[in-house]
């Protein structure tokens, strides 16, 4: 469904991504893990063309979207939930959701809104509150809801667990699971490797802007290298203990 091929991105002379290829098939939940500064956000931003691509291609549903503008990409069926939520704090929850559907006809927005409120009841309960008043977890739900307003076929998620308590993280992921089961395709990037891989079918490991591992999520979860680097498991040689 989405195929990013041999992508190179640089910012002000610094190479952020080198020869990165990832793909997500229809209905798949794919996680890309990596530490801070590995280039995860850059990858999503360059797919959405928020930052430019130096080299490489992006094919979405058979269409070459490499050079599409961001709004054109959204119209073609992709939506991004940015890192740190980025909800409009001074607007109400409902207004935030409406913003997500601003390129859609009014009737469709109304239907979609009802659908999303049904899925995230808390957004309905707090509909008229300012988004800035919501808790972190609620803001994350709002950010997801806002992205869904454009009726995407693929959802790009940037660091959904950032700054959230473990219980809330689980709640967010459970929602993503429900969305995935309903047929939504998901590409997620995360530092929190254990959650990201637990819910995904496949995964990639990004390090210094390069993919250095990939495979089934279960395969990566069990890998010693991933455990050491991303799951915080301490490994010492026998003579060091």
């Amino acid at each position: 469904m989405l195929e990013v091929k041999s992508l190179h991105v640089s910012y002000g002379g610094v190479q952020a991504l080198t020869n990165v290829s990832v793909h997500v098939s229809k209905g798949e939940f794919v996680s890309l893990i990596g530490s801070n500064g590995a280039g995860k956000t850059t990858l999503l931003n360059s797919i959405m063309n928020i930052v430019g691509k130096q080299k490489g291609t992006a094919i979405f549903d058979g269409k070459d979207v490499t050079k599409f503008g961001t709004s054109q990409i959204v119209t073609s069926g992709m939506a991004l939930v940015p890192e740190g939520r980025r909800v409009f704090s001074n607007m109400s929850v409902l207004e935030n959701l409406e913003m997500g559907g601003f390129k859609r006809p009014a009737a469709e927005v109304k239907n979609k809104l009802e659908e999303i409120v049904k899925m995230f009841p808390v957004l309905g309960e707090r509909g008229y509150q300012m988004a800035g008043m919501l808790s972190g977890g609620e803001q994350q739900m709002l950010a997801i809801g806002r992205a869904l307003m454009s009726n995407p076929r693929i959802l790009l998620m940037d660091e959904p667990s950032m700054g959230l308590a473990p219980l809330v993280i689980k709640e967010v992921y459970e929602k993503l699971k429900v969305l995935a089961e309903s047929g939504l395709t998901i590409l997620l990037v995360e530092q929190n490797a254990s959650m990201a891989l637990k819910y995904a079918q496949r995964g990639y490991v990004l390090e210094n802007g390069r993919i250095i591992m990939q495979g089934k999520a279960s395969e990566l979860l069990g890998d010693n290298e991933v455990k050491r680097a991303y799951l915080g498991k301490e490994y010492k040689e026998k003579w060091e203990r």
Binding site: S6, S21, H23, I212, M213, Q214, E219, G222, K238
Partner: protein
Amino acid sequence: MGEIEVKYWQEEEERMPVAERKVFQLERLQTTVNRAYRKVDFYRKTFDELGLKPDVISELSDISKLPFTNKSDLRENYPYGMFAVPLRDIVRIHSSSGTTGKPTVVGYTKNDLDNWNNLVARVMTAGGVTKDDIVHISFTYGLFTGGFGLHYGAETIGASVIPVSSGNTQRQINIMQDYKSSTLVATPSYALHIAETMENMGIKKEELSLKYALLGSEPWGDKIRNEIQERLGVIASDNYGLSELMGPGISGECCAQDGLHINEDFFYPEIIDPLTLKPLPEGEYGELVLTTLKREGMPLLRYRTRDVTRIYREDCVCGRTLIKMEKPQGRTDDMLIINGVNVFPSQVEEALSKVQGVSPHYMIFVRKKGALDAMEIKVEVTENIFFDEMKKQRKLVDDLTSQFQKILLMKPKVTLVSSQTLERFEGKAKRVVDER
């Protein structure tokens, strides 16, 4: 209750549309190159010396820009120099015998072993094995990858595995008879030896329960296959592997018995001209070169197998979309170039097997005749024919010459010699004398 026929082990991978598989292949190739460069000193040095960057792979065809890996590289980095993970992540070590030099060592991580098991399970499933089979393994266990590779592949399928290992053929036959082994895993020559021993013991194939034979680790042709199938009452399939790359499980035959499907989602195959080292198009004969795509413990880039074959894509009746290779014809180490034509001693053997009245003992002589090369093949005949009339001898020479011409695509001089006159060899035979 009817039996459920299992045709594939990992159907999604084995029947994936070729274009979709290519997406995985490119991603895995890029990842493998990144890992090899970062984690293996040998590759980092080689890349740096060549001024190559690991991001040289934008398309699959860019693989031709990568350097080759030779067996000598593995020897020079003996024992652990080619490993891409710390030793504590290695859970199994195999090694070559080291009879022709320093041994080569291979290491497997946990994931490598899981993958290996599944790849062998694919090949065995393609050869007919199911969880209901009783698998008799007469490969040597130990450092050699064959025994353990097939053993765990069969266990992964859920078959009952009898790890007999090699030796004591009479006992092996008794075990097969008593334990009702339904699948034999062996070298083709050992399978034939079992058949001969059974005859000597007066045991008929009907007294055994054998249905399948998975044979490999040495070159063999259809003549031997038919004989094994006939004498043991089995369906015999070929499988191919190389210890340096993993062991068995690289490719195997399906029910069509027409080419070996390469597990190309794990091993990227290329065919190169062994002289110019340039890649050859699909379908042409040359040396098989393999790149590991998912191996963690010891990634190998463009490993020169020295095996001569061709790879080709065709719609297979079995439904697999995996590319096929022919049974290897021989090794590039043994290849002779005579007036620009590649000749393998194995082709001479093949020609001999098609003519009655000659023994399998032969010698090849290559000399200069003016500017050209001349090839002479001396062949031992069985005694009764040699002392027979001239006419029969003439006919034999003509038959041999036309067989050679058909198979070697050139006309050698054929000389008949009486039996027991050619040199005999203990161990590896030296059948070529190149006097050029």
